[in-house]
């Protein structure tokens, strides 16, 4: 079993289309255990019930945004060890710094390529294959 197959991934994005593209890119990289949520609140519920190893979350979302969700994940004892990659549609330095302060493991800019996504995940977990 490859490393990618072992990692449980939770993708959180308010846009159906983005969730589809994320899930597709992860599948292409060999990931098999992928769950999706539409916002931070829903994402947190899933994480509390079943912690995932890796969270890939959008920043701009209704209810709980990406940073709020990151904070919630980091302060909950059952979820705090998850790797967290935040997605951003706009290259915002302040946002990147804030995400780093709150304990994000990496940032991935949209629109991403498969290679960029792979590099962002490998920077956290090491080589996937």
């Amino acid at each position: 079993m490859s490393l990618a197959e072992k990692i449980k991934v939770l993708i959180v994005d308010d846009q159906v289309t983005s969730r589809l593209l994320l899930s597709d890119a992860l599948t292409q990289l060999g990931f098999k255990q992928i769950t999706a949520a539409g916002d931070g609140e829903q994402g947190m519920k899933i994480m509390e019930q079943q912690p995932h190893h890796l969270v890939i979350s959008d920043f701009n979302m209704p209810k709980m945004d990406g940073l709020g969700f990151l904070q919630a994940v980091r302060t909950n004892p059952t979820t705090k060890k998850a790797a967290f990659i935040i997605l951003t549609a706009q290259g915002d330095r302040a946002l990147v710094q804030k995400a780093a302060q709150l304990g994000a493991n990496n940032v991935l800019a949209k629109p991403f390529t498969i290679e960029k996504m792979k590099a962002a995940i490998e920077a956290v977990f090491g080589a996937l294959k």
């Binding site: 846009q15 593209l21 991935l108 920077a123």
Partner: protein
Amino acid sequence: MTIEATAKRVHIIQGEYKVVSDPDVVLSTILGSCVAACLRDPVAGVGGMNHFLLPGSVNSLASGGDATRYGVHLMELLINGLLKRGARRDRLEAKVFGGAKTISTFSNVGEQNAAFAMQFLKDEGIPVVSSSVGGEHGRKLEYWPISGRARQYPLTGAETQKTVALEQRPVPAVRPVENSIEFF
């Protein structure tokens, strides 16, 4: 003085998007094979437009691909811009224009771009209240984002060819932004 004369005109070019909440603003653009999605929230009084041409063949949304991700990104920027100005996703309505099939290229890039926009909006649950896509002529488009009024003028054959030639020049914005930072 007519409304048109007092209106503040903002022109949008390929790869751009604009969100406004000023009722005097009219957004305008010129479309060959390109597509413009016009979105607004009638309750919040905010609206906007983007203008894109996805390179090469745009696969179905489910199959991914760089062009598809770029298109989704452009739609997302417009939607995020609207939400920041107080729009709500469940109140958004769309109008879609452009995607002319042009003789010079013999390809159906315009058609694919229009289909992409329609599919994206359908998947996101944003109703398309009207659209004018395809055909052999380009369009000059005007959109009043607050009222949702849209007006289009067909381009002549020569104007369409000129517009398409301009559209097909490489656009620097097509590549993803290089701002991925690795913390460790």
